[in-house]
Amino acid sequence: MRGGDPLDALIEEFISNLNLIHRLSVSENAGKTQKMVQCIDNHIRYKYLRKDEIVKLRTEMLQVDNLINIFRTRFGENLAYEKKVREDIPDPYLPSNTVLALAESALIHGLVPKEGDWRLNIEIDEHEHGLLIRVADNGVGLAPSIMDPSCSCIERKNEIAAVNARLKEYFTNPESGDMEPVSISCSGMYNKVTILLPRSGL
C-alpha cells in the first residue's frame, strides 16, 4: 500500500476483489472468466500501481497486448489489431503508460464511439533521430475539430498531452532545449499519434 493515496487504496481494494472473483471462478471451473479476470488484474496493476515506473518498451507492449485481449473479449473480432515491431531494434526504457495510454485512449475515445470495423495499428521502427512509435486508429477524435474545446474527445487530447509531458520530462536534454516527442497527424481515414524517442536518451 502506498501511503494514504486514495487512488492507490481504491485500486488495491479493486484488485483484492478481482483476486476474490478469480479464486471463486477457479473453484467453479469458469476458465474464460479466470482468463478475463487475470487480464483485468494485469491491466489494473500495471496501469495504476506501476504508473510512475520506468519500464522497457517490450514490457509496455505486452501490456498493450493484454489490453487488446480485454477489448477483443468484450467486443469480439470487430477489432483488427496489427503490431509491427522490428526484431532487431533496441529495447529502450521509457515511462510506463506511454504506448499503453495512447492505445487505450485510441480504443476508448477513438474506436468504441465509432460504428463499423475498428482498426488499431502500432508500429515501432528506427528513425535517423531515434526510435519511432506510431499508434494509428480509424476511429473518431483526432480530426481538426479536436482543437475545438467543446469537442467530446477532449479527454483523449488531454491524455496525449500527458504522455507528451511525461516523455519530455524523461528524455529532454537540458542543453539541447525543448523538444516535442509526440506529434499528432491525420492522414486519410487514420488518426495517427507519433512518438519520436531521441537517440541520445535511448
Binding site: P6, A9, N17, S25, E28, A30, K32, M36, I40
Partner: protein
Amino acid sequence: MLKISEKVQRISIRGKLILFMTTVVVVISLSNLYFYNMAYSSMDDYNRLLRDYSQVNSLSIILIQGRDDFAEYITGSNGSEEDNLELYKYRISMDAINDLINKISASSNSLETVLQSNAVRNSIQTYSDEINNIIDSKSTKEAKYLLFLKAKTDSVYIEGYIKQLLNTKLSEGEWYHSQLISRVRTIRIINFTSVLILMLVSLLFIFAISKSITNPIKKLTQFARNVSSGNFVNKELEMKSSEEINVLASTLNQMSKNIFNMISIQNQLHEEEIKSIRISNELNEARFLALQSQIAPHFLFNTLNAIARFSMFEGAKKTTHLIESLSSIFRYNLKGTEKVLLSEELKIIQAYFAIQSARFGERIRFDIRCRPDLGDIHVPRFILQPLVENAVIHGLEPKESNGMVRVKIFEESENLIIKVIDNGVGIHAGKLAQLLGQSEESVQRKGDTTGIGINNVRERVLLYSRKKDSFIMRSKVNLGTVITLNIPKS
C-alpha cells in the same frame, strides 16, 4: 426622594421579617398589658366594695361586743377600774370602732354615706362619753347600771344608724357592681375585637410580606425558565424589590446576558463551521469526481459486466453474483454525490456485504435491520458504505472470529436514526478523536472502495441535518464501535 412604599419595598427580606415580627409581638404585649391592667383595676374596685361592707358590718358587731363587755363589767365587777378585763375589752372595742369609723369615713364617696358615717361617728362619740361618765362616776352599782341602760338605748340607735349606712353602702355597691359588670363586658368586647383586628392585620401583613417576597421570586423563576428554554425576548429583568432579590435579579441578568452572548458566539461559530464544512464538502466532491475520472470507471464497469456474462455462460453462479455486486458498487459510484433513497444505499451495502462475505466467510456476519417503508426516505449518498467499511477494516479485520456488523435503521419522531454497530476490537479515545479530526488526505485508506473517509461522512451529515448531534461515534476497546446518524426525514 424615595416614596415610603418604595422604601418599604427595598427593605431586605430579613429586615421585613424582623419588622413584622417585632410589630406583632409589641402590639400583642401592649394590648395584653392594657387588658390585664383593666382586669386588675376592676378586681381592686370589687375588693374595696367588699371591704367596705365588711367594715360597716364589723362596726356593728364590735359595737355590740363592746356593749356586752361593758355590761358584764357593770354587773360583774366591784366597780373598780383596775385590772378589769371586761373594761379593757370594751376600751379595745372602742379603739377599733374609732379606727373603723375613720376608715369608713375616708372610703365614703357619696354625700349620703359621708353624712351617715358622720352621724354614726357623732353618736358613737356621745355613746362613748356616756360610758366614760359611768366609769368615772362614783355612784353606786345600781345607779351606774341605770345610766348604762340609757347608754345601751343610745347604742341601739347607733346600730340603727350603722344598718342604714350598710344599706346605703349596699345600694351604692349594687350600682357600682352593675357598672363594674358593664365595664368588664366592654373590656371583653374590646379584647375580642382587638384580638380579631390584630389577627386580621397580622394576616394582611403576612399576605403582603409573602407577596413582596414571592412575587419577585416568581418573576425571577419565570425569567430563569425563559433563559433555560432559550427564550431571550426579554433580555433584561427589571426589578425594584428587596436587597437580596435585587442582587439575584442583577446576577440573573448578567448570567442571561453572558449565556445570550455565548449562544450568539456559538451560533456564529456553528455557522462558520457549517460554511467551512460546505467548502470542505465541495472540495471533497471535486476530489471524489477527480478520483473517479482517474480510474476510468466506465471502462471497468463495462469490463466487469462482460466478465459477469462470461461467468454466467460458464455456470459460475457465485462468481457471477460476486461480479455483479462489485459492478453495482461501481455503477453506484458513477452517479455522483447527490442525495439518494435509503433503499439505494441499502442495496449497495448488501452488495458490499456479499463481497465481504465471500472474503471473510464465517468470520464476519452482516445484518441489516430496517423497515421496508423507510427505504423511501432521502439521505445523503455514500453515508453507509464508508461507515460499514470502517467497521470491517478497523473493527473486525483484526478479530479472528465471531465478527458482526449490524446496520439498524428506525424512526424517532421526525428523524431517521441509522446505527452502524460492530463488535470489533474498538478504538481508544485518542485514536477516535484523531480519526474524526483527520482530513480526507491523511486518512489511512486500506480497504477503501469509495475514496470517502468517515470524517467526510460526518461533515456531510452535519451539513445535511444542521444538528451537532447528528453524528455520534462511540467506541470501547475490545467491545466494539457504534456510529449513530440522526437525519431529518423531510
